[in-house]
Amino acid sequence: MEQAPQVNGAQAGSPAPGLAVHGTGLAPVTIASLTAGGCALLVFVSEHCPTSALALRRLGPLCQAWAQAGLTAVAIFEDPLDLAIRTARRFGWTGHVAAQEPPYPASQAYRLSTVPTAVLVGRDRLVAGKMAGWDQRAMASLLAEAGAQLGAELAMPSDAEPRTKPGCSSKAAIDPDLAAAMAGQNGADELEEMFERGWTDGLPVIPPTAERVEAMLGGLPADASLGPVPPAMGEATLARVAACAVLAGCRPEYFPVVAAAARAALDPAFNLHGQAVTTQPAGQLVVVNGPMREAIGLNSGMGALGPGFRANLTIGRALRLLVCLTGGAMPGAMDRSTLGHMGKLSFCIAEDEETSPWEPLHVERGFAADRSVVTVIGSDAPLSISDHRSRTPEDLAYILAWAAASAWSTNWWPLAEPSVFVICPEHAQMFREAGWTKQRLRQFMFEAVRRPASLLRRGETTQVVHAAPPDALVPKWASPEAIVLLVAGGEAGRYSAVLGPCTGMGSQIVSREVESRGR
């Protein structure tokens, strides 16, 4: 920061006074740095001033072209830097941004009475001219002078009404006590800023400060990449994955699970590309197995598919934010889902391996039982299945399986993609007592749900249905393997659920082991 000399700084032909301001970069903002490539245009503004807004909006889009011609434009706010950055972005200012605090030494040094005031500083670092308030002709003169010094023709703001507009009082020109009172509540709100930046899924987020992201990474290399995130193919550096985890509200100890979910979802076999842009509602279900569940407080019990548990909600949300932000798949933009579903905010479930009568999902998929594993599955919203009356495993299996008869679409039989059944503990207990293995239940469900082809030939249906003889029984699933069975939920209550598939795009289930930070 330069000391602001007490001179009559704004007089044409006098040396441009130093700038006691904060910039956005690491390097200090000085007259020398601003004029290193040619001339500088200092535009003093204030957030509360409509004429300042006018100047920012008219000049803002031109700054990049000016910079290429050798004219460096900087908006110098009489506001805190965070408010200055937000205001500049809001009005389309593409030049540098700097800010000063009470008693506004740069404004004092340039003897400002009015904002906006634009001061042209020439190659020789002398004040070459100024504009107070908004004055189209005065601005044209400044740009003509700069152009003459640079030997370039500079882009001019469009000639539009109002051509002149009085400015507002500079805060440096009012009573210091009043200026300090005005600066007390500056209106800066970092949560609102996250919305302005578009760093959200529509809910408030935790700002991803460098400190929070560093803590989330826990020593992992920030620049290491997990690969491009479809559909926009933004690079999933660990820093960006960690930023999404911070935004989502994760604690640092969740991050290995978030990273494993990201690695799984970015496997081409999962076809995140198709899932992210489809008109289907599919979300990305994250299933966590193994010791990590208890270590980080993932809920697999009461309300396992619902609210109330930070680890579940924020891990699922972190993956979705990665898809939406780094991957560019925001609903209404590249995400073209007709309806979507609430699982596209967050969709993370832990399996209750301790209550389950069967081997857990990750063991079925070839991992050792003591490993922590994340599995991702393209899934529709849960459909609850009440059954408090079945007294045999056959009856219960029949009720559960037929609930999925309309999964994807009423007459779309068979489904090749996975339907996920979340079996509640009371239902699981009936199968345990009867000695049913997971394979037996899956086979029973597969064989139970069949219909004559003639009853399925209406509306959206499949080639299999059309090709089959009218009386041929068509199964709901192409194979038993399309039925995924998990156990989760509260100990009381006989409500299981089925999650329909993401269909027609070859999305496979993908699992990744959770890596400790040391690996």
């Binding site: 805190p80 400060t209 460098a210 911070v246 780094t326």
Partner: protein, 92 residues
Amino acid sequence: VAADYVSPFDERVRTPEPLAPRPASMAGSRVVLLDIRKNRGAEFLDRIETLLAAAGAATARVTKEIFSKPAALSLIDEIASGGGLVVEALAD
């Protein structure tokens, strides 16, 4: 002072590729028709192919692995080297 945030976005700016010049006439041109395998896309391409033939263009058909995945680079190379023009069909 503004907080130092880590952006979740990939901030690299991509330069838009300019569109290739539009042909004045289809006569004598070779057109690759890309079927992305969306339902009934082939029917749409059949109609296009008929119209192109009437306009004097030669056509060739290629097919993506599946509509929901980006085309393989080898297919893009095949299209780029095999035809002067390309029509991509989306239907449902």
